[in-house]
């Protein structure tokens, strides 16, 4: 097993390197650069080409692409992501608070999704093709079908119109004021969590259906075990394996993928930062963000493998 895990761990490196190369090149292919985005934004007077050239030189954008890449990747290897081309501040500082927020929302949404998905999925599987199953499926598919920004807009409008209330505008870290923090983040977490619960519910249901058809469940029934015991002890643990994967991957997607929801709920998270970074052609920040999100994704994948190994003795004892 250890060899397998180490192998998987090491395979993360070429993947991340690939991500790094692609985002680096992609950014240079996109028309426009940070200097243009900043000085040609149209709100000021025309800036001379000399000024633009000087600024490009200051940011190192006049160097050959391979050299820029080498400098950047060498920094990354030392966990130095450089400074933002837009603000001039260290990347780590730019990201820190947003990352905390996104991480928290992702975690909360995952909790919401899990709490919804597991019971619903199990019930739907047990009552397959009955009205309970249909109701669960309609509920979960409705979650998938509703654009989350749409749901968000409805929620915010609902609060406004019916309760004359708006969620706090500014992110307060949990450790500073848990109540303020929760009051702000619980809504996006619910909106997103509901949507993602759909994916997990469907996976739980089908995985459960599959497991319930397994021979060992028949064995357990033949032993005269209680239904609850069969479910909890025999079925759930097996059925959980694919569900855990799905939840893990969704969690990874949530980290950087909540652009629209963040916009609707006005969360200054990674997703919004992403859009800002790329529309400003803030190369260094975009690169760092992509790498961060990709690393999180790949790492969660790896963590899922570890979890699998831990949950499934067939792998654990290999």
């Amino acid at each position: 097993m250890w060899r397998y895990l180490i192998n998987r761990f090491l395979l993360m490196i070429p993947t991340l390197l690939g991500v790094a190369i692609i985002i680096f090149l992609l950014l240079r292919v996109i028309p426009g650069d940070v200097v243009e985005a900043k000085f040609m934004s149209g709100e000021g007077s025309g800036v001379s080409n000399e000024v633009l050239a000087a600024e490009r030189a200051r940011l190192g954008l006049d160097k050959p692409v391979w050299e820029q890449f080498a400098i950047w990747i060498w920094g990354v290897a030392r966990f130095d992501f450089g400074i933002s081309m837009w603000t001039g501040g260290p990347i780590s500082e730019e990201i820190a608070l947003r990352f905390a927020l996104s991480l928290q929302v992702a975690l909360m949404a995952t909790i919401v999704a899990t709490l919804l998905a597991l019971p619903l999925g199990v019930i739907a599987a047990l009552k397959q093709d009955t009205w309970v199953d249909y109701a669960v499926r309609v509920f979960s598919i409705a979650g998938l079908a509703m654009p989350s920004f749409w749901l968000g807009i409805l929620m915010i409008l609902g609060f406004l119109i019916f309760f004359k209330w708006v969620p706090p505008m500014v992110y307060t870290p949990f450790w500073i004021d848990p109540w303020q923090n929760m009051v702000q983040l619980v809504w996006p977490a619910l909106a997103v969590g509901y949507r993602y619960s759909a994916v997990a519910t469907r996976m739980t249901r089908s995985s459960m259906l599959e497991v319930l058809r397994e021979d060992y469940i028949r064995t357990a029934r033949a032993k005269g075990l209680w239904l609850k015991l069969i479910l909890v002890r025999h079925a759930l643990k097996n059925a959980m394996l694919p569900v855990v994967t799905v939840i893990g991957l969704e969690f990874a997607f949530l980290l950087g993928g909540l652009v629209v929801t963040e916009q609707v709920f006005n969360l200054n998270g990674l997703g919004l930062l992403f859009v800002q970074a790329i529309t400003r052609r803030d190369y260094t920040l975009t690169q760092a963000l992509v790498l961060l999100v990709a690393a999180a994704f790949i790492f969660v994948n790896f963590a899922m493998d570890v979890m699998y190994a831990w949950l499934d003795p067939r792998i654990r004892f290999r």
């Binding site: 395979l11 070429p14 993947t15 690939g18 991500v19 692609i22 985002i23 992609l26 950014l27 292919v29 996109i30 028309p31 426009g32 397959q128 093709d129 249909y134 499926r137 309609v138 598919i141 409705a142 998938l144 079908a145 509703m146 654009p147 920004f149 749409w150 807009i153 409008l157 406004l160 119109i161 469907r202 089908s206 259906l209 599959e210 058809r213 990874a252 997607f253 950087g256 993928g257 652009v259 629209v260 916009q263 997703g271 992403f274 859009v275 790329i278 529309t279 975009t286 963000l289 992509v290 999100v293 990709a294 994704f297 790949i298 994948n301």
Partner: protein, 300 residues
């Protein structure tokens, strides 16, 4: 030889059986999967609406009428008008064209490219597989929004480019799923038989493996259909999708629809419902299709 009698007596499948197979399959699907049948019905309805849009839409979807700006639903405009006085119903009807083109275009390209890559990767195995999978890993871990933004920024905002942008993240997801079923199909004796018969790689992949991943392919296709429509709506909402004055659902939800959500809720409500209904129908159908096609989940 005595085999002749033996054959005659076992010829159990009659011509009549085969003739009514299709209608029987459809009837059976409807009976056993009522939800899926409802979904399929809505999808068919949507296709019909999209095809006959010029005939059934009460107004020209591009026709601006400042006199009728922000008109609430009434006899003249069943679903009201938008900020430019355009008929919301007509725009929803025409919007179904955009949704279906994007949905089917992206889903078909994404699922097919994914299927070919997945099957090829599984068939060749070894180093090829390792390299292809690394590439899939790279693309799957790439944040979707960045891909979409980059594609749109590089290629521009046209419908085909939008389809490409939506397709790119679908390919690795589909290829992963298809690859895993192709891996088991590669171990099937009939693939061995094809190899033993001395067929070329292309023939084995195209004729012997691809048709047999149809079940996961169709499942991916239907789920991508819904996802593509939703993605298009999200991208449009972010201003990265198709552009005004094209009639598209996501576009209708953005800008004025949000600003006037309180005073003119019909502007956001109906396109939002259209998106939800379409995605809902595709997912419902896809889900039931999966239940029906996945032998592991089959009842009875």
């Amino acid at each position: 030889m005595s085999t002749a009698t033996d054959i005659a007596s076992v010829d159990t499948v009659t011509a009549a059986d085969r003739g009514r197979r299709w209608s029987a399959v459809v009837a059976d699907f409807c009976r056993r999967r009522p939800l899926g049948a409802i979904g399929a019905g809505v999808v068919v309805l949507m296709i019909v609406v999209a095809l006959t849009a010029p005939g059934i839409a009460p107004y020209d979807p591009l026709n601006i009428d400042f006199a009728a700006m922000l008109a609430p639903p009434d006899a003249a405009h069943w679903l009201g008008t938008d900020a430019y006085g355009r008929d919301v119903l007509s725009r929803i009807i025409y919007g179904s064209q955009t949704a279906l083109i994007v949905g089917f275009g992206a889903a078909f390209i994404g699922a097919t490219a994914g299927a070919v890559l997945g099957v090829g990767s599984a068939y060749f195995g070894g180093r090829t597989d390792l390299v292809v999978q690394r590439f899939m890993d790279i693309f799957i871990s790439f944040p979707l929004i960045i891909l979409a933004l980059a594609m749109v920024a590089i290629l521009g905002n046209t419908l085909p480019n939008l389809i490409i942008a939506i397709t790119v993240p679908m390919i690795p997801r589909c290829s992963l799923v298809i690859r895993s079923s192709a891996l088991s199909i590669r171990e099937m004796p009939y693939v061995d038989a094809a190899r033993a018969a001395g067929y070329g790689h292309a023939r084995i992949i195209l004729r012997h493996m691809l048709p047999n991943v149809m079940a996961p392919y169709l499942i991916m296709l239907t789920s991508f259909l819904g996802q593509a429509i939703l993605l298009e709506a999200s991208l449009s909402f972010l201003g990265l999708g198709v552009q005004e004055p094209t009639a598209a659902w996501g576009l209708m939800l953005r800008g004025a629809a949000v600003e006037f959500a309180e005073t003119a809720p019909w502007m956001a409500l109906f396109p939002g419902l259209a998106i939800s209904l379409a995605v809902f129908a595709f997912n419902l159908f896809g889900d039931s299709l999966r239940d029906a096609l996945d032998p592991k989940l089959r009842t009875g």
